[in-house]
C-alpha cells in the first residue's frame, strides 16, 4: 500500500510537469493549427539556459524559472514569425509545416549538442526537505512545482474565461475568419499564444532538468512523447484536456514504472498515445460542443 501511495504522489508530481508542458504544446495547435515538434528542442534549450543561470551565473533556482520562461517565450514568438506563420501565409499544408518544425527541432537540438557536448549535466540542487504526509513522500521542490503548476493552470483558466484577450484567443482558435470579421487582429493573438506557450515550455524545461538526476540534449525530445500523449488524450488543442491528460499520463507511467519495470515508462506513454489515436482520436475533451451539435442539429 505504501508503494502505491508513494507512486501516486510521484505520479501527481510527474503529471503536473507533463501538464505544464502539454498545455503549452496544445495552445500552439489550438491557435495556429501548427503541430510544433520543435517544442521538445525548445524545452532542452530552456533546460540548458537554466543550467547556465544556476551553475555558472549562480542564480537562485526559482528565480531562473521566470527568466528562462520569458526568454523561451520571446524565442517562441520569433520562431513562429520566422517559420510557421510565413508557411501558413503561403498556403503550406499541415504536414509541410509539421515537417518544417521537425527540421527546426533537429537543427536546434544538434546546435545545442555542438555547443554543450554530448555529456550529461545536473543542476545538483539536492532534494531539500522531504515531506511525508499519509505516505505521500514528496520533496519540498516537488511540492512547490505541483502547487506552482496548479496556480499557473488556474491562472490560464482565468485568462481564457475572464478576460477579453482570453475570449479572443478561444474565438481565434474556434473560427479564425469569424474572429477577424469581429475586428480581432489574429496575428497579435497568435503572438500572445506563442508567447504563453513558449513561457510554459521554458518553465517546463527548467523544472524538468532541475528535478531529474541528470539530463542531456535529448531531454526535451524524450519528454515530447509524454506531452503529445497527454495532449492527444485530452483532445489536441484543448487546454483543460492537456491538464487532465498530463496527470493521467504521469500517473500511468509512474504506476507502470513501479509495478512493471521502470524500463516500460516510455512505453506506457506510447501505448496511451497509440490507443487514443486508434480508438478515440478526438480525445476525452475533443470538441464536446461539436459533438453536441451533431446530436441536436
Amino acid at each position: 500500500m505504501r508503494l502505491f501511495i508513494e507512486t501516486i504522489g510521484f505520479g501527481i508530481f510527474s503529471g503536473s510537469l507533463i501538464s505544464l508542458g502539454a498545455v503549452g504544446f496544445t495552445v500552439q495547435f489550438a491557435i495556429s493549427n501548427v503541430l510544433n515538434v520543435a517544442y521538445g528542442a525548445f524545452i532542452t534549450l530552456g533546460a540548458y539556459f537554466g543550467y547556465w543561470l544556476v551553475n555558472d551565473a549562480h542564480l537562485n533556482f526559482w528565480l531562473t524559472v521566470p527568466i528562462v520562461a520569458i526568454a523561451i517565450g520571446a524565442l517562441s514568438v520569433a520562431f513562429n514569425r520566422l517559420l510557421p506563420r510565413p508557411l501558413l501565409r503561403r498556403g503550406a499544408s499541415f504536414v509541410a509545416i509539421l515537417i518544417g518544425t521537425v527540421w527546426a527541432g533537429i537543427t536546434l537540438q544538434y546546435t545545442i549538442v555542438s555547443i554543450v557536448g554530448p555529456s550529461t549535466f545536473t543542476y545538483a540542487l539536492g532534494n531539500g526537505k522531504t515531506i511525508d504526509l499519509w505516505d505521500f513522500v514528496l520533496t519540498n521542490t516537488q511540492l512547490i512545482i505541483i502547487g506552482g503548476t496548479a496556480l499557473l493552470m488556474l491562472g490560464y483558466h482565468g485568462l481564457l474565461t475572464r478576460t477579453q484577450l482570453g475570449q479572443a484567443m478561444r474565438a481565434t482558435s474556434v473560427n479564425p475568419v469569424v474572429a477577424r470579421s469581429c475586428g480581432i487582429r489574429i496575428d497579435r493573438i497568435t503572438d500572445v499564444a506563442w508567447l504563453i506557450s513558449g513561457m510554459l515550455c521554458g518553465a517546463t524545461g527548467v523544472v524538468l532538468a532541475g528535478t531529474v538526476s541528470t539530463f542531456d540534449s535529448t531531454l526535451g525530445t524524450t519528454f515530447l512523447v509524454y506531452m503529445i500523449a497527454a495532449a492527444v488524450l485530452g483532445g489536441i488543442g484543448q487546454p483543460y484536456g492537456a491538464m487532465i491528460g498530463g496527470l493521467v499520463v504521469g500517473l500511468t507511467t509512474q504506476l507502470t514504472a513501479a509495478y512493471l519495470s521502470p524500463a516500460y515508462e516510455d512505453v506506457a506513454a506510447f501505448v496511451i498515445l497509440v490507443v487514443m489515436l486508434l480508438a478515440w482520436p478526438r480525445g476525452l475533451f475533443g470538441s464536446a460542443a461539436a459533438a453536441g451539435r451533431r446530436l441536436v442539429g
Partner: protein, 253 residues
C-alpha cells in the same frame, strides 16, 4: 446618406479569383442603405467568391470596392470590421464552443464595455429568441438558432453594410423563409445595407429590393427581385446551371 449617390457599398468592374484564374470577371454591384440586395446564380457562378473578394479573402486583379465613396479594395478583414463592414460567412459562422453571450461579446470586441452592453441589448431586441439562451453553448443549438446568433454577432458593430453568404444553406424551407424575412429583410428595413448571396434563388428574390444574377462570373441581369423572378429567361439560366429557379419554391416540408 453618403456622397456616393446613396450607395453604401459599390463594386466597380471587379476582377478576382484564386491565383491568376479570375472567377469574377468585371462585376458591378451597388448596395444602398436600407436595401436588401441579393446575388443569385447557378452553382459555380462565383457568388461566394464575389463576397470573399469584397472582404479581401481572394486575389483581386482589377476593379475597385468602395465603402461610402472610399476605396477599401484589398483591405484586411479586421480593418473592414472597423470600417463598418459586417460579414457572416457560409456555414459555421459562430464560435461553437462558446456561449451565445460570449459570441455576441466577441462581435463587440472593438467596443468599450458600456457600448458593448448597449449593443448587446439592441441585438437582443432584434433577436428576442436569443435572450433566454445567452448561457447556451452555440454548438448545442439548432441550425436556425446558430444562424441567428451569427447574424446577431455581426450586428454588434452596427455595420453600415452586412454581407451574408448563403445564410440558409442546410436549413428547411420554413427556416429559410424565417432567416430571409426575419433576419435579412428586417435588418434592411431598419436601415442596414444588406448584400445577400443565396443559392435558394426563389426565396431570396421574393424578399430582394434589387437582384444581380451572376453567371460564369459576370452579371447576366440586374433588376428588382420580382422582375428577375418573373423573367422567363432566368429559369433557363438556372436550369442550365443545374439548379432550377423554382426548385426551392416547392414546400420542402
Amino acid at each position: 446618406m453618403s456622397a456616393d449617390n446613396g450607395h453604401v457599398l459599390r463594386i466597380e468592374q471587379l476582377v478576382a479569383g484564386y491565383g491568376d484564374t479570375p472567377v469574377i470577371r468585371g462585376v458591378d454591384v451597388e448596395v444602398p442603405a436600407g436595401k436588401l440586395v441579393v446575388v443569385v446564380g447557378p452553382n459555380g457562378a462565383g457568388k461566394s467568391t464575389l463576397l470573399k473578394a469584397i472582404l479581401g479573402l481572394v486575389n483581386i486583379t482589377g476593379g475597385e470596392v468602395m465603402l461610402d465613396g472610399r476605396p477599401i479594395t484589398r483591405s484586411p478583414l479586421e480593418d473592414l470590421a472597423r470600417n463598418g463592414v459586417g460579414y457572416v460567412p457560409q456555414g459555421d459562422a459562430v464560435f461553437d464552443s462558446m456561449r451565445v453571450r460570449e459570441n455576441l461579446e466577441m462581435g463587440g470586441y472593438l467596443l468599450d464595455k458600456a457600448l458593448r452592453a448597449e449593443r448587446l441589448e439592441q441585438a437582443l431586441e432584434l433577436f428576442p429568441d436569443l435572450r433566454h439562451k445567452l448561457k447556451r453553448y452555440v454548438g448545442t443549438m439548432s441550425g436556425g438558432e446558430r444562424r441567428m446568433t451569427a447574424v446577431a454577432r455581426a450586428m454588434m458593430l452596427a455595420p453600415r453594410v452586412l454581407l451574408l453568404d448563403e445564410p440558409t444553406a442546410g436549413l428547411s424551407a420554413a427556416l429559410t423563409k424565417m432567416v430571409l424575412t426575419e433576419q435579412a429583410r428586417m435588418l434592411a428595413d431598419r436601415g442596414t445595407a444588406v448584400l445577400l448571396v443565396e443559392q435558394k434563388a426563389h426565396a431570396a428574390l421574393e424578399q430582394a429590393d434589387w437582384a444581380y444574377v451572376l453567371v460564369q462570373g459576370e452579371v447576366a441581369m440586374s433588376a428588382p427581385g420580382r422582375e428577375v423572378l418573373e423573367d422567363p429567361d432566368m429559369g433557363e439560366v438556372f436550369l442550365g446551371g443545374g439548379s432550377g429557379l423554382l426548385a426551392d419554391a416547392e414546400p420542402a416540408g
